[in-house]
Symmetry: D2
Subunit: 378 residues, 4 copies
């Protein structure tokens, strides 16, 4: 349920309405959009009569129920306003969102040793990536396959983070490892196979750090958004959705079917930022560039690409990894498309914070640095 406030309502009155709403045993969340302030109501709203709320103030323009089964993830919940996820990295804040430059995440499937991870981090940073991906805990089909170096890999990621200033994205598979992972990761990844591991979703959400939620192999869009809702329901608004290929009837050449159609569909359903992982999505290095470019043209907010210094010798997912040089070349091609759609910037606007969120209001002063709305994406 959302409460739309009349344009021009003084902050004091909004404050008063919020306090009144709190008395109804629901949690009000203020969302400051470009044109409107709305208050999202979280909790057992089924029992609440919209008319009762309407009467709280003449400054209430409308009281609307969110029709979708996902509530906080719904675009309606933010009255059509896209959300932005701000991630703190050693080099400053990086913003994921529809009105932000495309954020590049790159790195190997697994962290193998210090040299390889630091070297890869340096290369992808030089190419323009803002985040390093790398697996410490690897979900592998076989119990006998390499399962990741675990805790020691986490410290290597910490080293790479310190050396390069890149943010770290890494996966957690087990709630027992959550604290360790959260100490190192700037974004905690929930993998495809755990998209509906609801216990994990709740516990990762409760940590409060930004969460990257990969789509399950045969998850419908609705199931995916419901999984996001599990995280959002913990009060953590920092969820990034990542499409990484779905399972179809044909796996002879491509490992998965990258569902780029999810981008425009999600845009009509949710305010959350969207990342595309073309590496898993198609599963062969030679096919990755075409899909990365397509993802940008389709409107992705971020890309995650596997890069390994020596794919032929990778401990996992070698066939779908680019070499650093291939990544350099792809980045140049991506820049061409990224510029064409108005979402590429040489000088990435670090430092911006979420001006619409209460949390960061202290940093309000730097809000004016946010880049202006993109012409192309309207």
């Amino acid at each position: 349920m959302i409460v739309v406030i009349e344009t021009g309502t003084p902050a004091q009155e909004i404050q008063r309405i919020t306090q009144e709403l709190e008395r109804l045993n629901i949690t009000p969340e203020q969302i400051v959009g470009n044109h409107k302030v709305v208050i999202g109501l979280v909790g057992d709203t089924a029992a609440i009569n919209p008319q009762q709320i309407q009467q709280l103030s003449p400054s209430i323009e409308q009281v609307l129920r969110v029709k979708q089964p996902f509530k906080r993830a719904a675009l309606e919940f933010r009255y059509g306003q896209p959300s932005e996820v701000f991630v703190e990295t050693p080099s400053g804040f990086v913003a994921f969102g529809q009105n932000r430059p495309i954020v590049q995440v790159a790195g190997p499937c697994s962290v193998e040793n210090e040299e390889m991870i630091v070297q890869t981090a340096q290369r992808v940073k030089a190419a323009g990536a803002k985040f390093l991906r790398g697996g410490a805990y690897k979900p592998r089909t076989s119990p006998y396959a390499f399962q990741g170096h675990g805790e020691s890999a986490l410290s290597l990621l910490a080293t790479a983070r310190q050396e390069t200033g890149l943010g770290i994205v890494t996966e957690v598979m087990d709630t027992a490892d959550l604290q360790k992972v959260a100490r190192i990761a700037d974004i905690i990844q929930i993998g495809t196979r755990n998209m509906q591991n609801f216990s994990l979703l709740r516990k990762v959400g409760a940590i409060g750090k930004p969460v990257l939620l990969k789509r399950g192999m045969s998850a419908t869009i609705e199931e995916w958004l419901m999984a996001a809702e599990y995280i959002l329901a913990t009060g953590n608004p920092n969820v990034i959705l990542c499409e990484r290929g779905i399972r179809s009837f044909d796996r002879q050449y491509a490992r998965n079917t990258l569902d780029l159609g999810a981008i425009p569909v999600l845009r009509t359903l949710t305010h959350l930022p969207i990342m595309i992982d073309p590496s898993h999505g198609i599963g062969k290095a030679e096919y990755v560039p075409a899909m990365a470019l397509a993802a940008i043209a389709a409107g992705a907010d971020s890309l995650m690409i596997e890069v390994h210094p020596n794919p032929a010798k990778a401990l996992s997912d070698g066939p779908q990894s680019l070499t650093p040089q291939q990544y350099d070349e792809l980045m140049q091609q991506m820049a061409v498309i990224g510029q064409a759609v108005g979402r590429w910037s040489q000088h990435f606007p670090i430092s911006t914070v979420d001006c619409t969120s209460q949390k960061h209001q202290a940093k309000q002063e730097i809000c004016d640095q946010t880049i202006t709305a993109m012409i192309f994406r309207k």
Copy 2:
């Protein structure tokens, strides 16, 4: 890798071979089949030269590598001998396996209250079920949907168990709940959404209790067997596979596509017992009986069917639940097919134990009560 022993080799020599094998830093597991004794080798067998083992004794007939990516789950690993899972219940041991009567598991999706669970337990027991299913922790698509009564539901299951003597099958979703669940459950269920939650697989396996492993919604047969391998690799051989419907392009009428073809396919790949869940598999009560009968004809070792005293008011999965009376009727129909295929018994042979496993050798004396091989299934 398996070591096939010559027929007629004295137990002493087999013992000696086993000790020699242990020196190679691998774990030998003895499998006593109808015709042969074989020793399965577990561990890093890649480095071992089969010829080196061959030379350990002239009583070694053959040394074979398991070609499948799943090793202990492979039919080859048991030299073609089906395995049996013996589950201890208040009424004695119940055996799951190809040469055993079909084991019936029934009950509601969720445990709602004492009256409903005890009543349902009594009804399904009267109809011939050996196990009560009932969810205490429910994996639900929505965070706002009923999530199961948790711990209090577990005690209600304990009550139903005591009252009826039925074994209990219930799901664990979170490693944090594992001890609590394991105290009550005779078989611990790993649900569809967690089939590749590898941390959970390992921890549940390590508990040592029988595990029911449901197939993931779009898991291939191979991925499913690899998930079973995660459990088997902990040293727990008591895994039952449960097909519960896969995801296909058509969900207009049926919720899922029940893949009964998995039964003959699995028979050529694995020795593990197979359960079919037609309730989730097709998702509407009126379609369940046809699929239950088909499952028996196709060779299922066990069936799991949702039964609820009042499906219209069920807190979850009502539309696919039978009433106790419908279950009675279905049981009569199942008896007809079960008898036709020679796998139905009025007087269920409780008390039998796994004669092929070292663990239960103390109870060897009751081994002769096992029913004789089925003519029909050859």
Copy 3:
């Protein structure tokens, strides 16, 4: 739209109502059920006011619109009464329907030469089949693969028909061959790849011979029934639906996923008889028996099974063909399940005709020979 007639209405009055209906520019079709006579209205019924029809006679109990997008295929159109398809063979009429014994169809994928087809025909007849299947025109993925012997294969089928008295089921792929195929075939098959070849559907329908309509590889149940509707709309009521496996994400072991769930689903939607083809459905000879038995238990009205004298040398689909001996053995197993469900008969009731259809009313005298309703299938 259907007009339900009051029980006990004299034939004369029904006749009068029918004539009145004809004046409305729609075609009335009389359906005589066990308890009721209903008149199905075919044509542009959207414009017709049900009340206007109601007023035609006090003997009209109800006027109902068929809610499904498929009209004549809908179970509603026959007021819940299953239809029966009667096929004339050299040995008399064979009936396909829910209250009839299961009809066995068997034979090779392709007709290869006279010896093999006649021999196979003799073997499958001896085993209990009523129809010989055999391809003269083969839809092959590759233009360079064997495409069937065409017209000469048709004459070999004619020979086999004459020698054995079996009915013939063979596929037509091209409207140009339709006349030739129709001269030989007792049932004309429309293959999976042509399920939505609407021109072919219409032209085959117009021939008037019974049609076997295989389900498309990824056709939904609704699309399949709509394809049947194309045939029914030509005025030809003799359509048999054949499930032959759908395409899913896993084809590593089984060629297709046999959707036996289609049986109970179809029973709630349509009156048409249902055949199952486990050979294409699962695609490997060793898996076929389990699926054939399951199909019978699930309620199939007919089975189509590939049998080849020498599968290893078959020109097409060898891996999924049984040898005649394997077919004999399977038939014995099928008999066990068929008897259990009350749909097997040593002495197949040839000679019965469709007593509910106007067409065959001349043969009314033999209608009393129809077997009585099956207890099991209710």
Copy 4:
């Protein structure tokens, strides 16, 4: 099988080799690439010994077997050289191929009346389209739905062609209509449901006109190329592949899953040009632009987009049709991406002919007008 000729071999010697090859009862096809001349051998090459051919001339560099099951469709068959399909339209030749500007095809699902089709044609031409699409014969799921205006629609397409100079793309469903369709169509479309209607493929191929082959709803890439092979095997090299969305497990929001990954995959397998149909591919007008842009970035050679003057009143597929104004806007966005990838041209190079094909060698003089190789696509 292909015969690679040494660079610098005189035309006379190539001619002689060709004649020698003809004596072997196979059909040699000369392919003039950028760097090499190769001779493709068509027919029963299995029996031919490569060494025997090698000995025909010292100018033969290599004799290679095509390893793919599709032969003429294989990239190997043209020694890696992409093919180009030249279509004659009233405004001159239009080329489809990897080194050509992206060809735009647009128009309504069905031809409804003269005004709508001519008007739409004028609008899409003004926007930059080179071809008008429009259905005269429509494959509809329901026999009671609008089936297209047939022959009269064909004459309306002829009128629109004459009025605007656009080429015409229209579907044929029935071999009986083939001559009529071929008289009007510049490109004959084979629809999704007929992709494996092998009789139709052969007959359409034999007409010799360019063929647009849509991918079947659940056709694998290999099956699709095998279907193309049916056309190519008639000697007609002018095949364009069209991806139009595949069937997946999720159809709640998008009608189909547009498989853009097919583009890079096909590039490694075949030389044939690739068209993308985002309208059917995703099935809702608001999602079409994102997918059209993505298709261009992924490397599509052509786009087919549904445009209707009044989508809300369209006789078929209204929800996925753009208005002419939306198409104008999309064309502007496509131009941005098209220019970025170097495949957009204000002044479309009409008049170019296939310089690599013998057929058009007479028109060699205009070959130098072909646009230069694209830097971006390398």
